[in-house]
Amino acid sequence: MAEILQISNLSEHIYRVRLVAPRIAKRRKAGQFVIVRVTPDGERIPLTIANASAEEGWIELIIQAVGESTRVLRDMQVGDHLEDLAGPLGRATKVEKVGRVLCIGGGVGIAPLRPIAEAFKAAGNHVTTILGARTSDLIILRDDMDQISDELYIATDDGSAGEKGFPTDIFARLLDTGNTYDEAVVVGPPVMMKFTSLKTLDAGVPTMCSLNPIMIDGTGMCGGCRVTVAGEPRFACVDGPEFDAASVEWDDLLNRLSGYDKIAERNHTCRIGTDEK
């Protein structure tokens, strides 16, 4: 059981939840996640740790209320308890002083990017951040990322915040004006990660991405989160969630992620609440 300390709305459908979790807060590192079960009959869902305080014993999760569990969580109050909270899981981001680091985040993927950018900054790197989303309301953690980053750029599909276009457009311009990067980290929807990392890799920048496959136990037992990386089956929960973007077989991941949605579509056509996907 994990008590909710704070819950607030970051944008339409995106919420920040602060939970009592002293053990996890003490040990978690950038890149790690937790498994949550909201109600006694709920599913097990993986969520990244967006922030934490070891001193105060809390962690923060950022959720997009798109599925049943995340909608129930959204409607909970301070003082309510989540049924289960387990973690921190996954391997921590490999953070070193490499020089100039580019952090690209899309949509709710900005949440896991936050601690990663913070860790790279703390390691003495120059951090350039590009955030992207459909529209300005969906740009979350803007102030946090602004504080962490040496440079911050924003792209929206409709031009309602920052520049109209995609993060890759901004990246291309930064390259054109003579900027170089030693490493890139890309976190966001899988399709965005696939196409963005193609660009960064093309520019010769080693790129890490944080994958979000379907998971159940989160400790390697079920193998549901397997992804093909460099031709080998790897388990995102234990070997990841971060991998070298150049080695990920994206189409495998995309296909598996859409599996249960396709089944649900076959069974009935109700699409309430799925518009955010």
Binding site: R23, A86, P88, T219, G220, M221, C222, N255
Partner: protein, 461 residues
């Protein structure tokens, strides 16, 4: 010497049971149990005990049972086995105690497993608090599967304060997520765990040793005197064939976890599972049998085992193979999947296999299966389940300095008692041996408990 036939345990009708999760074997009546117990010869030098990995005093409990002293029979079993309801159901008795029974030479051996189950079920939940006086030591256990529970029970019975850490939200490990209700009802596991709780064992769920806290932290900061690692095998293995990452392909662990732990078979369950019409399972062990029979229970038209050797080499229990056959499972023996063919939405629709024949014996002494050229065939398949074993889970070894593992990643033990290369750290079960049976894991948990007691100066051998 009269040798009357064994009294069989009644079973549900195959056609009816193949569509429900109710337990297949119904249990003895009192008369059946006592009648079977009376067949025991009460050998002076009982061979059956030699076949039992946890050395239950089998003749003694059967004698009490034959005299209708049900509680005393239970106490005798419990003295060495904290999970008799589980063992009575899932132990391969035919290879252990029962295989050595003298009665087996000229007829049927005593049904030790059935009797153990009867005694356990009859006494379930009926006992008072059994907490022992504290000896002032505390031990942590990583993993609440059979190895961890056996270790916990043995230590708690001797006054050690035990905390069991479990990564999942429910206690029981493979007994809960892996073995289906029709073979081992979760309620039986729960009752045995409740008894451990009454003995004072503390359970902490959602706690991943190596992640939520390291072994060093548990020993140095939380003050545990020793820790037993019974983390299970972990990682499922997958064959390297095209299509293995398609939708509709599960490891047996994932499939069974969705169904058993997350109850995906129930109407309105929040955890989905693909309910196929044509379920194909790759493998020939007990887990493969559990998966294929689960496929039927989720509504499959046909459910098929594909196994690359013959039935003779199948690692599954004879009883499980028999039950599967009775329920209508098809067996494609001497066959191996080559490729999964997908539909245009990325779901598996067919599995292409090849016929095999047995060649020369390999290092394991079993004849190596070889493909028969030109013998490819396809089976319709919308759910493909892989049950070909597991690899070691690296979470504990990666996070623990000084804990050596072997080439396969399993934790190395330096003696027969589960001592590892790191002081105060013990290990047993699948994390040491690779995938094995419930009872072998329990035996390892119990042996480690003995070593812990000895090393803590608590007078055990």
């Amino acid at each position: 010497m009269k040798n009357s036939p064994r009294i069989p345990m009644p079973e549900r009708n195959p056609r009816e049971r193949a569509r429900t999760f109710d337990e297949v074997k119904k249990g003895y009546t009192e008369e059946e149990a006592v009648g079977e117990a009376k067949r025991c010869l009460q050998c002076k030098k009982p061979l059956c005990m030699k076949g039992c990995p946890v050395s239950i005093d089998i003749p003694a409990f059967i004698k009490e049972l034959s005299e209708r002293n049900f509680e005393r029979a239970h106490d005798i079993i419990k003295n060495t086995n904290s999970l008799p309801g589980v063992c009575g159901r899932v132990c391969p008795q035919e290879e252990q105690c029962e295989s050595l029974c003298i009665l087996g030479h000229k007829g049927d051996p005593i049904a030790v497993g059935n009797l153990e189950r009867y005694v356990s079920d009859r006494n379930m939940g009926g006992h008072e608090d059994t907490k022992m006086p504290s000896v002032g030591r505390k031990v942590a256990i990583a993993g609440s599967g059979p190895a961890g529970l056996a270790c916990a029970g043995y230590l708690a019975k001797r006054g050690v304060a035990v905390t069991v850490f479990e990564a999942l939200h429910e206690i029981g490990g493979v007994l809960i997520y892996g073995i289906p209700e029709f073979r081992l009802p979760n309620a039986v596991v729960q009752a045995e765990i409740d008894e451990l709780k009454r003995m004072g064992v503390v359970f902490e769920t959602n706690f991943i040793v190596g992640k939520t806290a390291s072994i060093s932290e548990l020993l140095d900061e939380d003050g545990f005197d020793a820790i037993f690692v019974g983390a299970g095998a972990g990682f499922p293995r997958f064959p390297d064939i095209p299509g293995i990452n398609a939708n509709g392909v599960y490891s047996a662990n994932e499939y069974l976890t969705r169904v058993n732990l997350m109850q995906a078979w129930k109407e309105g369950s929040k955890t989905p599972v693909l309910k196929g019409q044509h379920v194909v399972v790759m493998g020939g062990g007990n887990v493969a049998m559990d998966a294929v029979r689960t496929g039927f229970r989720l509504g499959a038209q046909d459910a098929t085992i594909v196994y690359r050797r013959t039935e003779h080499e199948m690692p599954a229990r004879v009883e499980e193979i028999h039950h599967a056959r009775e329920e209508g499972v098809d067996f494609e023996l001497l066959a191996n999947p080559l490729e999964l063919l997908l539909d245009d939405e990325g779901f598996v629709k067919e599995v292409r296999c090849i016929k095999m024949r047995l060649g020369e014996a390999d290092a394991s002494g079993r004849r190596r299966p070889e493909p028969v050229e030109g013998s490819e065939f396809t089976l319709p398949c919308d759910v493909f389940i892989v049950a070909i074993g597991t690899k070691a889970n690296p979470i504990v070894s990666r996070s623990t300095k000084g804990l050596e593992t072997n080439k396969k990643g399993n934790v190395t033990i330096i003696d027969d008692w589960g001592r590892t290369t790191r002081d105060k750290v013990y290990a047993g079960g699948d994390i040491v041996t690779g995938a094995a049976t419930v009872i072998l894991a329990m035996g390892a948990g119990k042996d480690a408990a003995k070593a812990i007691l000895h090393d803590l100066g608590l007078n055990e051998d």
